[in-house]
Point group: C2
Chain length 388, copies 2
């Protein structure tokens, strides 16, 4: 298997956009290709993620239209992948595997989503279709509900009072909003404090409004290449050194909602392939769709022992300047969450950090970073480890 490098990356400002998915992805795709020192004719395949296109814009089968707008050659196939919130990460991983396997030398992968058109309540209900339609969504489960259950279980399992846990959860939101202040591409650029979170509207007890990420519009793209040719095109290629992806079925199979089984397995694959452990990571972008989700993720990724992660944000250990900065971009919580684009934006952030091009939020000397994306209510997890 060949080594795979990331050449150019690009994303737009996440938030509320009047642009279509095709417009957004074409813009970031062309920017990523240009930053790679390539032209559209050089791209041998497109792997695009988009989850809600049919619902938000009446556009299914978007991949060949994006392909055409980008000016890619007819002989270069366009494939749409969908794995709920992990969509773009899965697209990038499969694209990277095809480069590693020698099928392609240069590919474009990423995602796009308009998630604000229908409004948050309807989008929440619509997106609940990514949970199990027989056991879960039809009986009223939505994603805020699942993570609310996980927060209750976390508090009970580790004997932490719920008010105490909620304050620590709020610190996750405070940290990620603070990070986003340094990220001009972030959806939210608004400093908040613990009281902002605790005084906000209740969404799904114990999750309040500021425990929840927003739906956002946005797009992000990365160009992947065979590593042995990367330096012909860019000065600072970033290398993919480990990847993992795992699946789990309905929520009932999780047994313990505080430990996402697919993440434990996906992370094991990625660390094993990279030949490193969590202690080697300088920066992490992970799936903080809710504040409790960041706590669950830092534990399953091995940054903290199970039951020990909840104080990390409060202690400042996961903030910029802390032991292992988590979500320097602002995360899903404050950078925003355009579903099918989220994983690609996580890769963009890690690549910019490892290139020391992250501006005010740069982690000095960051050499190795990890991307973690969760799809659905724990059905899919995909991890990618990158190094400079």
């Amino acid at each position: 298997m060949r080594e795979v490098a990331v050449l150019g990356v690009a994303m737009n400002r996440f938030g509320v956009s009047q642009k279509t998915n095709l417009e957004m992805f074409t813009e970031v795709g062309l920017e990523a290709i240009e930053r790679s020192g390539l032209e559209p004719k050089d791209i041998q395949a497109l792997f695009l993620g988009c989850c809600l296109g049919a619902f938000e814009e009446g556009q299914a089968h978007i991949a060949p239209f994006a392909h055409s707008e980008l000016g890619l050659p007819t002989g270069s196939p366009a494939v749409l992948m969908e794995c709920a919130c992990a969509t773009a990460t899965v697209s990038i991983r499969n694209a990277a595997l095809l480069v590693a396997g020698g099928v392609y030398d240069f590919v474009l992968a990423g995602g796009t989503e308009r998630a604000t058109l229908m409004g948050t309540p309807l989008a929440t209900r619509t997106f609940a279709m990514a949970s199990h339609s027989y056991y879960e969504s039809t009986v009223g489960i939505t994603f805020p509900g699942v993570f609310a259950l996980a927060a209750h279980m976390y508090a009970a399992k580790y004997g932490i009072g719920l008010p105490e846990l909620k304050r620590h959860m709020a610190e996750v939101a405070v940290k990620n909003h603070k990070h986003a202040l340094l990220n001009p591409k972030a959806h939210f650029q608004k400093e908040i404090d613990v009281e902002t979170v605790l005084n906000s509207m209740m969404v799904a007890d114990p999750l309040q409004l500021y425990d929840c990420c927003p739906f956002s519009d946005g797009a992000a793209a990365v160009v992947l290449a065979r590593a042995d040719r990367a330096k012909e095109f860019v000065k600072k290629p970033i290398y993919i050194i480990g990847m993992g992806q795992a699946a789990c079925g309905a929520l009932s199979l999780q047994r313990d909602l505080t430990v996402v089984k697919a993440r434990v397995e996906a992370a094991r694959q990625a660390y094993s392939q990279a030949g490193i452990g969590p202690e080697d990571l300088d920066v992490v972008e992970l799936h903080d769709c809710f504040t409790i989700a960041e706590i669950l993720a830092i534990e399953a990724l091995g940054l903290y022992e199970f039951g020990k992660g909840y104080e990390a944000a409060t202690k400042g250990e996961t903030a910029l300047g802390g032991k292992v900065p988590v979500n320097p971009s602002g995360g899903l919580k404050a950078k925003g969450h355009p579903i099918g684009a989220t994983g690609a934006a996580q890769v963009v952030e890690i690549v910019e950090q490892l290139r020391e091009e992250a501006g005010e939020r740069q982690i000095p000397g960051a050499k190795i970073g990890l991307v973690d994306t969760l799809g659905g209510d724990f059905g899919t997890v995909c991890n990618i480890i990158l190094r400079r």
Copy 2:
């Protein structure tokens, strides 16, 4: 790149089903795995196609749930792909590329669809989202409309009177219905004649009801493996010797609706990789979503010169016993068209023909066969060539 073999294949009877996508795909997936001499624990990745799951069943993100029902290991990822009607073929092609590239040794690929729940008029409108949402579907284009335009253009371009062309088109339907009589898995098992077609309800002039394939429910699955180990598991592995996939954007870019640009390119790739030409094919399963579509396909695949394919069915050349049997399964027209499963069922038919296990519709001594699947209004074409 390694050679890739097909081990076990399976499909259910296409038609109107009360089963869910998960039930249908689990049944055919387990059957394909068993026929491969494997167990679910041996499957290293699942590639599943499904287009309308969110609309028909409120089930997006179906791949990890299918993965779980099949009993695949957590570490084996589940990926959903979507390329309109070419969905399953694209899933199989990408799965095969990952086996060829050495990423996986044994994978399950295929598709499932419930396309009858909402009824044909609403399904037609819903599925029109696979055309371009800005230039096409929003101005009223549906797939019957696109192929009706193509039929008019074909008649005009080659100076054939429309009544004459319609009789030849009707012969395609007659042939494929006749083939389906020999296929116990076919949606329709009903002999028709040219008058049946010409007296049927007008759908989109000149396409009448019997010029159009039905929406069907169904699922199909194939197990792919590294070819060097195939004979450890099955007596008659079938080998993938060529594949192609190409993309084209909005319909306006086609210039000539009688020549599907993506098909010309995808077929070129597949023939080139296989080192054969159309004259070497013993059997073809191609995308006859409408009768005119079969005529366009046999021409772009090189079985007939452009403008010469319209008489093929009338002359009996594409029937069982003819020069090159096309759609011995009954095709989309009579076997049925469960969108996301269609391409996998085409592969199932070719594999059974090449194994001489096609029962009453067996083409004696068939050695090489081609699968052709079109996605959307010409946006995606995927071809796979197999040999015994």
